[in-house]
């Protein structure tokens, strides 16, 4: 979101070189809000404003700018300056930003970072997208179990500036192997007995995730256990990073958006709707529109196959859209219910038979309702009561096909290792459009008799 409220004032201050005003602008607000007010500036102007902030604050404001604004600033400034700005960001934000920067420039920027930080960035950027490793940060508090409460408080007070969170402290041995966790809440509660050692108050049953675990798994654990941060370990159970509450919130919002796009057959966007060009958007939509179009062609071929029936009973045509859209709607409902339940870990593959029975029952109930309504309507158009049975019977069968296919396809996709949400609305609807026509024409043929 671009907030243009202060833009004129900011530009005015830059023009008159109003040091006091600009320093005040940089320090008075939460860095995120400062960044919001700066989104409308050019990269040139933004850098000039940032120079009025202390280095640490400068990095912090910079880290709240939107990624494309950050990239622009990095691209238009000397690598040393850029690496200074980047140096103060947390490792996960650094990795996010550098992904969008030219490889050559990344190398140069990295060469200006302290060696340890450089190593962290390079290690993190190796984790595949969507894994715990790709969203974690390496700035966590690692303490020895022999510290006393007082020493621990002193230690985190010294490290506070560099840490992503000072509220979860991890107890590790010399190999970084994770032995326990102590919260600052526990430390503060134990301040009365400040010579107690961490080993006496630490929790040894530490919930953690592996760096290669899916980010959905991280979300599930953090949400179920109301965690502020979760430690990330490697295969040797050594602590390699943490994921904090704000990172996981970003993940949920991002995943929800991707799911929404997917359910409408749009390739996920890298930027916001208005910032994505019409051509890029057309491409991200066109790909799937073409796929769905080719799928929908099947309905044309199916109808062609039954052209003789259609010529003889033209009134059947009146109900084609009604029949296929009703089947598609019931299929979408089932697919969405099952995909949501799978994502929330409420349904497992082993439940497939239970799901099938339930969807079959719902297909009968819902299909029955639609069937009665359809027959009443059909009575007005069909030549005889008997022939209106075609519409009634078809609606029952199509709704049942919808519930069964809509519920079973996501489970099958999961079984063969594909993301079940790929089987979302437009695809389920497409399959049922085709099936619906086949069912409709077959029922018509059976009840009304085929033309020769």
């Amino acid at each position: 979101m671009i907030n243009t409220l202060y833009l004129p004032e900011l530009r005015e201050m830059l023009e008159t070189n109003d040091r006091a005003g600009l320093e005040d602008f940089c320090t008075a607000l939460h860095p995120a809000r400062t960044a919001e007010f700066m989104e409308g500036l050019t990269a040139e102007e933004a850098i000039r404003v940032l120079e009025f902030a202390e280095p640490q604050l400068r990095s912090e404001i910079f880290s709240y700018l939107e990624t494309d604004h950050q990239v622009e600033i990095v691209n238009t400034h000397p690598p040393e300056e850029a690496s200074e700005l980047i140096g103060g960001m947390s490792t996960d934000d650094q990795v996010d930003l550098l992904q969008d920067v030219d490889d050559e420039l990344v190398k140069e920027i990295l060469s200006h970072l302290p060696p340890e930080e450089r190593r962290d960035v390079m290690r993190l950027s190796r984790y595949p997208e969507g894994t715990a490793g790709s969203i974690m940060t390496t700035e966590m508090a690692k303490l020895s179990k022999d510290l006393t409460v007082r020493e621990a408080l002193g230690e985190i007070s010294r490290q506070a500036e560099e840490l992503e969170t000072v509220y979860c402290l991890y107890i590790v041995d010399e190999h970084d192997s994770l032995h326990g966790v102590v919260s600052t809440r526990q430390l503060v509660s134990a301040m009365g007995k400040s010579s107690k050692r961490l080993s006496e108050i630490m929790d040894t049953d530490v919930l953690h995730v592996n760096a290669l675990d899916d980010q959905e798994e991280v979300l599930r654990k953090m949400a179920d256990y109301d965690m502020l941060a979760i430690p990330v370990v490697d295969d040797e159970l050594c602590l390699v990073g943490i994921i904090t509450h704000d990172d996981i919130l970003d993940v949920v919002v991002e995943e929800a958006t991707e799911d929404a796009y997917r359910s409408a057959a749009v390739q996920p966007l890298e930027e916001s709707y208005l910032r994505t060009s019409v051509l890029t958007l057309s491409w991200k939509r066109g790909v799937w529109l073409v796929v769905l179009f080719l799928g929908a062609l099947l309905t044309t071929f199916a109808l062609e196959h039954y052209e003789a029936e259609l010529e003889r009973y033209v009134w059947l045509v009146l109900f084609i859209p009604l029949v296929i859209s009703t089947g598609g709607n019931s299929g979408n409902q089932s697919a969405t219910l099952v995909i949501t339940a799978l994502n929330r870990d409420e349904v497992h593959l082993s439940d497939w038979w239970l799901v099938a029975k339930r969807e079959c029952a719902m297909g009968l109930i819902l299909g029955g309702m639609m069937s009665v309504m359809g027959m009443i309507i059909a009575l007005m158009k069909a030549p005889t009561l008997y022939s209106s049975l075609v519409v009634g019977a078809t609606l029952l069968l199509v709704v049942m096909a919808g519930t069964m296919i809509g519920s079973m396809l996501p489970l099958m996709f999961k079984r063969i290792g594909l993301d079940p949400s790929l089987m979302s609305n437009p695809f389920v609807a497409g399959i049922i459009d085709f099936l619906g026509i086949v069912i409709y024409m077959t029922v018509a043929g059976l009840l009304l008799g085929m033309p020769a």
Copy 2:
């Protein structure tokens, strides 16, 4: 999720009255995990296990049980015992639980709670669902600005047990008016100068929400500013509660699920898919299926209106499903893009003209593509090259109708104060099914000539 791993052991321990084993079970794990292992027990058994935990821990484990399990326990036990369990929960969890309990019983349970807690519960339960007030808790740290850093640390160490979070401390005056915020991080960093007063280190630019603000607004602020907790104030700017990171995570997950259901025309479920009865599910689906069915009837009436054309040019029928599904798909894409952008605050009502121009351009591009593909196919079925133009022109117009209607309807809904996500896939598709048929038949009539 029910974890049945330890059920036999738990039941065995209950039978043999294994005090040491059960005490160990209650204390060894994170309360959330203990609760998970207890989900399979009956209310009777669960209560017996909980008796082996200290009161505070007992409440904590209880608060992690799923709501329907909690309700069962509350319903089958004396109100005094139930109110003891409930007393240890945070106010927001209390309100959530009591919403599902019989009014008579609620009154009795409330009468056993300390007066202050009772007042808090009653106040919170008055906020409408979906507002900040309905998800906040009242257990926050309120401190006076005259306290020193040392005194503040002592104070929160004393209060730690009762507070939802000890990491954000709110500075209020005697009327609870909010003056500033201090994080425990700042306190810990300032430990070296522990006689400093809070007024010297507090942040006075406090981001807050009003108790009646929508929870989406809360989410937006907390996500944008990476906040651990956000203070909630009333109209007089007095601090009435806080919302913490775990509450807001629950909100996002819940809203994402509701949006998914809505996009498939399913009324949101109160419980998980497998725990909802087939009849309830059928009702929650049936309502919308009927609405959509009645809408789809319009396609039947539209086709009836053009029956003469259809009898004369039966080959037109072959493309009906293709035409309407392509229009529906492009409409869904536009609707989802605009709804998502509105929800993420990336598009505002004032951008409507920009959105309209962009969608018009995309409609031309995508419609053009579909039009060319459609004509190639139509050439094989239509009697003449000229008549295949009907399919081509229709596809262009239908895709454009899809992008325009799909993008403008959510904006219109927002304008008149309705939730734009109501205009989601099945509804947009239904509208475009009808329009698609009207467009198709009108184009056919114009190009091929109407029958008398």
